[in-house]
Symmetry: C2
Subunit: 304 residues, 2 copies
């Protein structure tokens, strides 16, 4: 009996909530990006990536076929055929959690893991490919590099790895969020970004001199006000949290309010609760299975 | 009743096994470091760091008082008084797992977490302080930056964050190791490093063109031979693994043999088993307790 090897990998990418940012556009997607700060969270996107003749190419998210420009773009850039992606997430789409960045980065890492050895890339090349794909699609400027790093990232200089520069806040707080719907990232990024960039630059300077979680929350809230990006619903919820003595801010960009500790629940809301994610994108498992044999995804190969 | 606040934090730092390296010395510890590649592992060092008038300053590792030059050095650099550190690890000392780097980095992160807010630093400043402290002490050149990053780090350019440059292999293999004792890192780093640096530079170039776990193992083994750093015991164990069809290498620098997958156990050894660690150093928890009240370390603060 002839068996045909099908390779598969499972990848996890944390969600990313941006608190404030400034947009920096150049002619090159690798040097285009954002400065700012955000939080990666334990709620993220889990992707099963397969490759082989037994599976038909296709991308699903939570069981439904989905088309994401940045994902198509990164598959083209990495030049890997027959990729099949089955992704699951508890995060809402378009609500400020970087789901498109997570999908793009996860597909880059997963595709690389199932590619032929001759086509294997190091992490920085995969992150660069995913970052450039998101920038070209106009759906994000800083999510990919933040999700690749994990933790509580400060985007000190914009752009892909070895071009941009990242730092981080050491704190790993509990995070609460309530999401009320979508805000179009494209429409904000394609509009005049001067006001938000001025506000974002000031916030970054202040955060760098006092890099604490409490300072981040104060600056994220201020940024939403100054950049005039707050939705009426976010304003209402943030006011409630303030009345209860807490601090909350709007996720950039989504109709989502987030807070640290228990500041949303203390104000009477019923938020989703998660934690700051300590690492970035990672391969969870990687294995071969034979179409004529038994599926054994738990065998961690060291051949790639 | 007057209560006095004592702050405490728990930090985890992964172990780090260097496979091959080249040494790069300059007049500045921030630009001094190593290029090369290694693996961070889930076996690491857990540190409880406290600060306050109720605890006496002191550093213990596995319950015993210990003095580590790089740790003293980083506490001085960060200028934080009254630090008490209680560290635990299953890793042997001086055996090539970066325990001194882990202690130094863990103390930097832990001290920062319990410091006054006005003295809070971002991650890159803490990693730089720990890296420079290790370089000055002569006990390591690349462990700190690798342990701060996590995963399967490639040290592309030497030095502290924003000076050096890191990349990574995407694989997250299971790791096995057997340790037979110590090798003095200082004595190797203080001797002529020309031979090892030539071998390490060649290995790095090859790994960058094929950044896979299998390639890393082959290069790590070759490096041990070419740099003439292998102990007789390591040579014997590596030969046994090769006879059984596997690949193993010596940890740089310790009398330790490591392998991926089950290559050591398949050769009849009874190794310690762990996994590649997906993240770098991280604060596990952080809290206040009142000397007049109840200890509640699970309260994650968002004030720092």
């Amino acid at each position: 009996m002839t068996t045909t090897a099908t390779r598969e990998a499972e990848v996890f990418v944390p969600g990313h909530i941006t608190g404030f940012f400034s947009a920096h556009h150049t002619d090159d997607p690798a040097t285009t990006g954002s400065r700012g700060a955000g939080l990666t969270i334990t709620t993220g996107v889990k992707l099963e990536v397969c490759r082989g003749p037994t599976v038909s190419p296709g991308i699903t998210l939570n069981g439904k076929s989905i088309s994401i420009d940045a994902v198509d773009n990164v598959i083209d850039r990495l030049d890997i055929d027959d990729i099949n992606v089955n992704a699951q997430t508890a995060l809402p789409l378009g609500a400020g959690f970087g789901v498109s960045g997570a999908m793009t980065l996860g597909v880059a890492f997963g595709s690389n893991a199932v590619a032929d050895k001759t086509n294997t890339r190091a992490e920085s090349a995969l992150i660069t490919a995913a970052h450039c794909a998101e920038v070209r699609a106009g759906t994000g400027l800083g999510d990919v590099v933040a999700q690749a790093r994990g933790g509580f990232p400060i985007r000190v200089e914009p752009g892909a790895p070895h071009v941009g520069q990242l730092d981080g806040i050491t704190a790993t707080p509990r995070v609460e969020y309530c999401s009320f719907g979508t805000v179009s990232t494209e429409s904000v990024l394609n509009a005049d970004t001067n006001t938000l960039t001025t506000a974002g630059e000031q916030a970054l300077e202040t955060l760098q001199s006092t890099p604490t979680a409490a300072q981040f929350m104060t600056l994220a809230h201020q940024f939403g006000v100054e950049a005039e990006l707050m939705t009426p619903k976010a304003q209402e919820v943030i006011a409630d949290v303030q009345t209860a003595g807490g601090t909350a801010a709007m996720a950039m960009l989504g109709n989502t309010v987030f807070a640290l500790g228990n500041d949303l629940s203390a104000a009477g809301y019923d938020p989703v609760v998660c934690q700051t994610h300590s690492g970035g994108v990672s391969i969870q498992q990687q294995g071969n299975y034979q179409t004529g044999g038994q599926h054994n995804p738990r065998t961690i190969e060291h051949s790639s």
